[in-house]
């Protein structure tokens, strides 16, 4: 039933795709529709939105690749259990960071404008959030076994992966390269988020 609903929704959204939709574009289009409909534009309570968002987000992201990239040189130095713990904390924290920005949505729509190759098994999907002035969003996808996963989201030239990488590198430099210290920091900040949520 839910699939059927998504399909009907996708059909309704077809005019938003300004050119022949490729599988990569359809993948992002479906995801953004889902998130706009079930999370951003929905009037469900915040907790439910967060659950829904976490689900969509986790399924769509190639978390391991992103985690590897954002830790940069420190990934290779970390032990398997440190990596595992970091990925869990990173995912939890990233979801909350984005959820924190739900309220900034004011009914904007997204238009897909193109697709380009970005390396082996990788594509960029170009899109624009209809605003004044419009906001350019590029989705970087990686294909594996015929399905796509997001490895980066680039908003007005600012790559999420690159920003996290620069931030975490700087944090780790100041903390003796200890990935466990970063994980603890993310967990602490994550708890603070819950605190601000309950205040709202």
């Amino acid at each position: 039933m839910k699939k059927l609903y998504a399909f009907v929704w996708a059909l309704m959204m077809l005019p938003a795709v300004a050119f022949a939709a490729t599988p990569a574009v359809s993948f992002v289009n479906q995801l953004t529709d889902q998130i706009i409909q079930n999370v951003l534009a929905s009037d469900k309570p915040k907790e439910e939105k967060l659950v829904e968002f976490r689900k969509d987000f986790t399924e769509a992201l190639d978390l391991k690749s992103i985690g590897q990239f954002v830790l940069g040189v420190y990934w290779r130095k970390a032990t398997p259990s440190e990596r595992e713990a970091f990925l869990t904390a990173f995912m939890d924290f990233t979801t909350k960071t984005w959820a924190d920005r739900f309220d900034m949505y004011h009914g904007q729509t997204i238009v897909f404008t193109g697709e380009r190759e970005s390396g082996k098994n990788q594509v960029y999907v170009d899109s624009q959030i209809q605003n004044n002035p419009p906001v350019e969003v590029i989705w970087r996808l990686r294909e594996k076994n015929g399905s796509y996963r997001i490895i980066d989201i680039i908003v007005e030239g600012v790559s999420m992966a690159m920003s996290y990488r620069n931030e975490y590198t700087s944090f780790l430099q100041a903390h003796g390269g200890q990935v466990s210290a970063l994980t603890r920091e993310l967990e602490t900040k994550s708890r603070e988020f819950q605190f601000t949520d309950s205040l709202k």
């Binding site: 004044n132 990686r142 030239g157 600012v158 920003s163 931030e167």
Partner: protein, 262 residues
């Protein structure tokens, strides 16, 4: 014109503090160091700390107060008004960049909003589908050949910049019509830029709050975001053939990255 004073203050502080980071010898750390493009990091962090203190004590509370007291439509009008005041600066820069068409459009936007938009309070131009087009002197310098903005700089109050764009801010403030029109009333000029500061900060409230909550190193996050976003603007302007439609210039570049060993 007033901003120019700040830039001299900033340059003075560079000389006084002389806060240079030591260049690392380890090749991996050296790569990070070069990518950050921030040889003055210790000094920049000091100014950043100063800015955060001023923000916490003055700017943020004032911006919050402004948001509470002034209703949204009025704030929109104020934003439109200040944006309109900047159009002559954008216009001159478009001309200096040799972009006649863009200059025409900016002039059109200015005319529409000044006359039909009641001195810029209403954004009539957007209803007429004249797009927003901002052009600063830092970009003009890039068009003239200064493609590399040089080391990262944090300016007092004004925030993230680089060497080229700091010079650009100086020239742009020299071009600002408000400063010329009110040059005999310095306090009025301070007042105008003060209100401008609050309304700019108000627009950034949600995003910066969220960034503060989410970043483990706000200085590094803002540096990264500024550098990436600025690079995109410059690349777009130069229509850099190596950078089609602002594709970011990094590869997921570790040999073991994206290994399929899941």
């Amino acid at each position: 014109m007033r901003n120019l004073t700040w830039i001299f203050v900033a340059l003075g502080m560079i000389l006084i503090l002389g806060g240079c980071a030591t260049k690392p010898t380890d090749p991996e750390q050296l790569r990070i160091y070069e990518q950050n493009n921030d040889p003055l990091e210790p000094m920049n962090r000091t100014i950043f700390g100063f800015n955060m203190a001023v923000d916490r004590l003055v700017l943020k509370p004032a911006a919050k107060g402004y948001r509470t007291v002034v209703p949204s439509p009025v704030r929109k009008g104020v934003n439109n008004f200040f944006n309109n005041l900047k159009q002559p600066v954008y216009f001159v820069n478009a001309l200096l960049q040799g972009e006649g068409k863009a200059a025409g459009q900016i002039a059109g936007r200015f005319a529409a909003n000044t006359f039909w938009g009641f001195f810029g309070i209403f954004d009539t131009a957007s209803q007429m589908d004249i797009p927003v087009d901002k052009r600063d002197f830092g970009e003009t310098l890039a068009v003239w050949g200064v493609e590399n903005g040089g080391p990262y700089l944090v300016l007092p109050i004004l925030g993230p910049s680089n060497v080229r764009d700091t010079a650009g801010i100086g020239v742009d403030s020299f071009l600002a019509p408000v400063d010329w029109a009110l040059r005999h009333e310095p306090w009025l000029v301070y007042g105008v830029w003060g209100v401008n500061g609050f309304r700019v900060r108000e627009q950034a409230l949600d995003f910066l709050d969220s960034l503060e909550r989410s970043s483990t190193d706000l200085y590094a996050t803002m540096r990264s975001m500024y550098q990436q976003n600025r690079k995109k603007e410059i690349d777009e302007l130069l229509k850099n053939p190596n950078m089609p439609e602002s594709a970011p210039a990094y590869e997921f570049d570790f040999p073991d990255e994206f290994s399929d060993d899941e």
